[in-house]
Symmetry: C2
Subunit: 154 residues, 2 copies
Amino acid sequence: MADSRDSTAPLAERLRARGLRLTAPRQRVLAAVTALEHATPEAIGARLRDEAGPDGTAPDTSTVYRNLELLERLGLVWHTHLGKGAPVYHAAEHPHLHVVCQSCGEIASAAPDLLDSAAERLAADLGFTVDVGHVALSGTCRACRERTGSEHPS
Amino acid sequence: MADSRDSTAPLAERLRARGLRLTAPRQRVLAAVTALEHATPEAIGARLRDEAGPDGTAPDTSTVYRNLELLERLGLVWHTHLGKGAPVYHAAEHPHLHVVCQSCGEIASAAPDLLDSAAERLAADLGFTVDVGHVALSGTCRACRERTGSEHPS
DNA sequence: CTCGTTGCAAAGGATTTGCACAAGT
DNA sequence: ACTTGTGCAAATCCTTTGCAACGAG
């Protein structure tokens, strides 16, 4: 049953399989997450308000949250905590990990195999399985490093 | 006079250097952070309330937050975001990184060199300097893995 | 028709901020 | 004394929840 298709079409499928329903808000939330690379629930809500459907309505904030959670449970989206405040969501298409600059907030992506050796080591040492998709590395990007010298982050 | 206690010395020094003041709440917050391995601001506040000084008072929540921030600026403590809304603070004594189980919330520590190769790669590729102290890896610990089988994290 | 879903509003928890007073130097 | 720090309370921010009406299957 677990067909590993891309995440565009399977929404309806996965919903049906669980006796859940395909609704407009649901599709729009998924569309927004896919469109925006890494967006906070807040940003997703805003986006939906912008692209208000032909009917001029946008899903309520609570609906956005509820569906984000559902979509994640369905395996269609993932979220990552970049640090303080808001988590960012992204389509679960291809695994990649996030790198965040503490100074400017810039988000970069890195290859998922970046942490392979670390993951293996943790698995061997502690029996701990790392979930690469939820990992966010913090640091300083080149631009900020040059701008502030080697100062400590405030 | 200025007793030469362990953690008080660096604190007083750094405060003076900045024209800031050594206060009881400040010392207590630092002591609590040092005592608790990895504690949330909330937990630190609770701890302080428990160990209420001889005077029976405990620092206010806002004071805890303000001092946590200050202590971090002074380089005496570090904080890490383990995921949803709960930063944990720890004394900045020895660098180590955190690994969190998504299921049980268990926090494990790992050697800081775990990410060395990844850090080097990022530096080379993106010019990105990783801050190991702020990194928290998410995943599943052995106990939870065995308990739930190979279930997907919700 | 039945039951999952939504919108709205209010509830909550966590962190921050404004201020006047207390305290460190 | 002068300036920083603290407590208190109110203000924010982000997220969750209760409930009646709505709509997909």
